[in-house]
């Protein structure tokens, strides 16, 4: 399940890329990065920018602040800078405010992504450590027949216990209406797919008595 680590920063020669696939990937990434840099420059220094980029496939991407059309018009007509006291000053102020908001939102969510990524890495490390100690945690493809049989029996056993425990939990919940450990509605039975798991995770339903993690 773990992603292979990427190659990291590689130094490349600035000349036309030969491999079509690499070219397309590079275009996609660099175009995005270019627009990001342009957006930052606009915010940091309060300047107006227009960028037009044709893709290898012939599509056109453009970035403009305040917008692409006004930059193009300004450039082509070579008119002097519009008066700063005109009514559109207010519009610009509003636009900048919402960009500020959006940037904050973006920063926040990027932090969350980074946190989740780190969590994933530590979970991977834990798994790896466990696998070196306990043979039954090895991937199924690596186990021999008798080992498989053993693990099979153990899991079938556990499954019975888990279902029993779950049934108890539902019974207890329905009995007194006391929702000590779980605040949301009970999830569907063990046929639930991983999407429901994600929803549960998002709700924070980790009702452990003592933290494992």
């Amino acid at each position: 399940m773990a992603k292979k680590p990427s190659m990291g920063r590689q130094k490349i020669k600035i000349q036309k890329i030969e491999v079509k696939n690499h070219l397309q990937v590079t275009f996609s990434k660099r175009r995005s990065g270019l627009f990001k840099k342009a957006s930052e420059l606009c915010t940091l220094c309060g300047v107006e920018i227009g960028i037009i980029v044709f893709s290898p496939a012939g599509k056109v991407f453009s970035f403009g602040h305040p917008n692409v059309e006004s930059i193009i018009d300004r450039f082509l007509t070579r008119n002097p800078v519009p008066n700063a006291h005109d009514p559109f000053h207010l519009v610009e102020a509003q636009r900048n405010a919402s960009v500020r908001e959006l940037n904050l939102q973006l920063g926040h969510i990027l932090n969350e992504v980074e946190a989740e990524r780190k969590r994933g890495e530590s979970l991977d490390a834990m798994r790896k450590a466990n696998q070196s100690h306990y043979w039954w945690e090895s991937p199924i493809s690596k186990l021999g027949l008798e080992q498989l049989e053993q693990v099979k029996v153990a899991m079938e056993d556990l499954k019975k216990n888990v279902n029993q425990q779950a049934a108890n939990a539902v019974f207890m919940a329905n009995r007194g209406g006391v929702f000590d450990h779980y605040e949301t509605k009970p999830l569907p039975s063990h046929g639930s797919n991983i999407n429901n798991i994600a929803a549960a995770a998002a709700n924070g339903n980790f009702g452990y008595c003592h933290g494992f993690f």
């Binding site: 660099r30 940091l44 991407f61 989740e116 834990m126 899991m155 556990l158 499954k159 994600a198 995770a201």
Partner: protein, 209 residues
């Protein structure tokens, strides 16, 4: 050159702002140029600033004019399809990040549940868990068992004798090939490194530390 994290806000200090502008504008032009060369595509960049009366243009005014003309020749819809301003650009990035986060959540939850499952496999802590975790562990067990059944089946197939008709079977017998009639499973006992190999006492407390 130090890499301090810059706050993404208008730089109020005039000289700092001018310095940043010069550096970043230079970097931006370099990036446009590289993109064009690496990918063999047409592009242009136009930067207006309060510091200069004329805009800074890449590749140059004529080259930019050419690209703009090419742009304007495209149908209106094609022009605007991938057109963004700051707001829409940032919104797109937020959406992408949100998707990424969702996927990471799911992956991590799966890892967590797997860990829980193995923990409970050794006979600990089942009573401590809340319903959502129990459900997820049950799901994970089903998933793993399915794989195990498949794998066991695959191994058995590998070592099973080829399909024989009744006649072939008898023929083989007559030819004196006693060994072939067994499933051959007994040959596949894989030695493993743990101290215990008695199937009957697998999950007792003696084995797990």
């Amino acid at each position: 050159m130090t890499r301090k994290k810059v706050k993404l806000a208008f730089i109020s200090n005039d000289s700092a702002r001018k310095a940043t502008f010069k550096k970043r504008k230079k970097g931006l032009m370099k990036k446009v140029s590289e993109l064009s060369t690496l990918c063999g595509i047409e592009s242009c960049a136009i930067v207006y600033s309060p510091y200069e009366s004329q805009p800074d243009v890449w590749p140059d005014a004529r080259g930019a004019g050419r690209v703009l003309a090419q742009f304007k020749r495209m149908p209106e819809m094609e022009q605007s399809k991938k057109m963004v301003d700051q707001e829409s650009f940032i919104r797109n990035r937020i959406a992408k990040a949100a998707d990424q986060l969702k996927k990471l959540h799911m992956d991590n939850r799966e890892k967590e549940v797997t860990h829980l499952m193995y923990h409970c496999l050794t006979g600990k802590g089942l009573h401590c868990l809340a319903l959502p975790d129990l459900n997820d562990i049950a799901w994970m067990l089903d998933h793993n068992l399915k794989e195990i059944y498949k794998r066991i089946e695959a191994i058995r197939m590998d070592h099973a004798p080829p399909e024989r008709t009744q006649q072939q079977h008898l023929f083989a017998e007559w030819m004196g090939n006693p060994g072939d009639q067994m499933g051959g499973d007994e040959d596949i006992i894989v030695p493993f490194n743990d101290t215990n190999s008695h199937a009957s006492t697998i999950w007792s407390n003696v084995i797990f530390p």
